[in-house]
């Protein structure tokens, strides 16, 4: 009986087994896309997946990439790091996938980046923000088509200084995990360059997924800082904003800085007051001052709303950037290869020397694989036409000013920023745009 069962299992596996052979101009371009469709980060993953489906559909209607149809295969990052690793390798070794878009979580990016190098497949980090991956090692097969944590935090500091140049005290309430800790570290180090005497009155790191911030809010009310930073997202940020509103924290003269608030605006509806410094991890927003009336952008927003019932948020734009970047990279590699289908190495190489444009400003890819993306920040404002807050007084900060140069570590570079940089925000080029 045992032998029979074993033979049956072996036969079943044999049917599923497919050799991963390289082909010239494949029948279809399979792309593995990892995203959270379960767990708290699914607030990013599900819209990201919807955007991917929408955009790939449109891409295929226009002929695909290099004339080849694109087939996405989705992996749920919510199954955990070890299972993600198994799935990742299964797609590469069993189904012959040579292009991966991974991941949302920085922890997962940390896992898959070395694996991509080992397996020699192109890996586009489409949403994770950790700057440490590309700064710690030179990768051949790993690129990032969006900005990173350093860019986002430095830009947030600059906007804060523009809006409230004379504050004295600051407190932070961040999620207790790598992003929450690292983002605060970079923010504070940058802030100290411009305001060496700033006083940190409280550093609170409630655990990721905390459901109750009432004690943190009580403490903030008692301490009355001038500025409060919260780089949280998803349910955590929602709960914090709602509880803060219920407790009247927004009525005090506190300036809140919430670099990931854009993704929660529609969900929070009337709970968001005016005057919060809001960011969206890059220069994208459905009402982007420069691309709002761009027909392609309008079309995307309309189609996305029709598909999901919501406005696009930053992960959907990150997905768009990844796909457009991928397409540009492939086309560039094909051209450099004399019209023949390129290997993942050739595409990765091409993606280090190109510029592309999704629904924001043009993004330049650097030699270390890091994308240079401008940052959009603004102040929340209520608008009669929308049941949720919108972003007003938008400023676009170019990436070159706020991104760690190639070869340097963020933690050391931010300390060496020129304090005079703050003045650049009062020049005409950085006049804020109103929401229209």
């Amino acid at each position: 009986m045992k032998l029979k069962t074993l033979c049956a299992i072996a036969a079943a596996l044999a049917i599923g087994h497919g050799a991963a052979t390289a082909q010239d101009k494949p029948a279809e371009l399979k792309i593995g896309i990892s995203t959270f469709t379960s767990g708290p980060a699914s607030v990013f993953g599900v819209p990201g997946k919807a955007a991917a489906e929408l955009l790939i559909d449109e891409m295929n209607k226009a002929g695909g990439i290099g004339g080849v149809k694109v087939t996405p295969i989705f992996i749920d990052e919510g199954i955990g790091g070890d299972k993600l690793l198994s799935e990742y390798r299964r797609l590469v070794q069993e189904q012959g996938v040579r292009t991966m878009l991974s991941a949302i979580s920085s922890g997962n990016c940390n896992i898959v980046a070395p694996v991509a190098e080992d397996l020699k497949v192109l890996n586009v980090m489409w949403d994770c923000g950790t700057e440490k991956i590309l700064e710690s090692k030179r990768y051949k097969y790993v690129v990032r088509t969006q900005a990173n944590a350093t860019t986002e935090m430095v830009a947030s500091v600059l906007y804060l200084l523009k809006v409230r140049p004379d504050f004295k005290t600051i407190a932070v309430v961040n999620q207790d995990y790598a992003w929450g800790r690292d983002s605060w570290e970079i923010f504070l180090a940058t802030l100290k360059v411009f305001k060496p005497d700033v006083k940190v009155v409280a550093e609170m790191f409630p655990k990721l997924g905390a459901s109750d911030f009432s004690t943190e809010i009580s403490r903030l009310q008692a301490l009355r800082p001038d500025v409060v930073l919260n780089t949280g997202w998803g349910g955590d940020l929602d709960t914090f904003v709602r509880q803060a509103g219920q407790r009247g924290l927004f009525k005090q003269n506190v300036t809140f800085v919430m670099p990931l608030l854009e993704s929660s605006l529609e969900r929070l509806g009337g709970a968001v007051p005016e005057g919060i410094i809001a960011g969206g991890r890059g220069d994208h927003y459905w009402a982007h001052p420069e691309t709002r009336d761009d027909p392609k952008h309008k079309d995307f927003v309309a189609k996305f709303r029709a598909k999901t019932g919501s406005y696009p948020i930053y992960p959907t734009y990150h997905m768009a950037q990844a796909l457009v970047g991928l397409k540009t990279g492939y086309e560039s590699a094909i051209k450099a290869n004399g019209g023949k289908w390129p290997s993942p190495e050739q595409v990765a190489d091409a993606m280090r020397k190109m510029k592309f444009k999704a629904y924001g400003r043009e993004i330049t890819m650097r030699e270390d694989g890091q994308g240079l993306e401008a940052q959009l920040l603004g102040l929340t404002k209520r608008h009669p036409k929308y049941p949720f807050a919108v972003i007003d007084q938008m400023v676009l900060i170019p990436a070159e000013l706020v991104t760690t140069p190639v070869g340097q570590q963020s933690t050391t570079w931010v300390k060496s920023i020129n304090p005079g940089l703050a003045k650049v925000l009062s020049t005409d080029e950085f006049k804020p745009h109103d929401f229209k």
């Binding site: 009986m1 045992k2 032998l3 074993l6 299992i9 072996a10 596996l13 044999a14 599923g16 087994h17 469709t37 379960s38 749920d76 199954i79 955990g80 790091g81 070890d82 299972k83 690793l85 198994s86 799935e87 390798r89 299964r90 590469v92 070794q93 069993e94 920085s106 922890g107 940390n110 896992i111 070395p114 694996v115 080992d118 397996l119 207790d176 995990y177 790598a178 800790r181 655990k207 990721l208």
Partner: protein, 319 residues
Amino acid sequence: MPSMRLAVVVAVLVAAVLGVTLWVPWLKTPVLIALADGLAVTGVIVLIRAGQVSFGHAMYACLAGYGVAFIGRALHLDALLLIALGTVAAALAGAVIGMFMVRYRGIFFGMLNLAFSMVLFSVLGKFGAVTGGTDGLRFDRPSFAGVHLEREGFEIALLALALGLAVIAGWAVQYYFRTVDGQALAAIKTNETRLEYLGISAKRVFWRAYTLSAGLCGLGGSIFALTQGLVTPEMGYWVRSGEVVFIAVLGGSAHAIGAFIGAFVFSFVKLYAAALLTAWQLVLGLVLIVMVFVAPTGIFGLIEKRLRAKPAAGHGGTP
């Protein structure tokens, strides 16, 4: 079950696993994880022998994993050495914690283990400067037996080692059950007072068993850490401890081989249910409920019943 027959079956299974993973390369990772889980589950089976269940034993796998990560990052030692050190660290922790843990029985034993594991889990998540926080610690692939291998080669070597260790661990645990100590352990479940009357210290017997179980969990945790190249606090979360007990009952807690049967079934159902249905918890939960009513002796219990005319005394039966 006659040991000759069992030996043949085990040999066939090992050969099958090796053959299949060499033929279908991507299977190496899930098989390694199943083997690591299986080793941890043998540890839990040792405790179940005494009628006790710990809802915190994942903490030993977690401790060993973090030990491997810390030492790997600091000293860049060989994989074999790392596994040994991780296992020893877990066994030591088990010996220390066991010193006051073995006073408890039943639900209190389970609860205290849970409490310790949650303290460890919270500490690992909170003190990120040292432990890497909730994102965990990454470490580079070490050499294997002195040789620096590419990912493929390293995994094949690790797989062969894990298979070997699984067989040895399974055999060792079964041998242990047949010794005086192991029989005394079983007596803790049936009638501990009588054991004391025999002059055998139940606490000492249990303490030895607890240390062994911690070491086995640590062995599993070390292999898991080397497979993933990353350790996270999730390795020690209470749900993970529950899954380990789950696997023990699923596979059959009467015999060490049940640990591995259960681990393989669990791993692959989880992988495919997650890929196809995204509701793997639902599937596995229902499977377990059915198993408890229909086959409380687990998969191995079912197999054993079919392969024998009548049960031999001292082996098998209800856990």
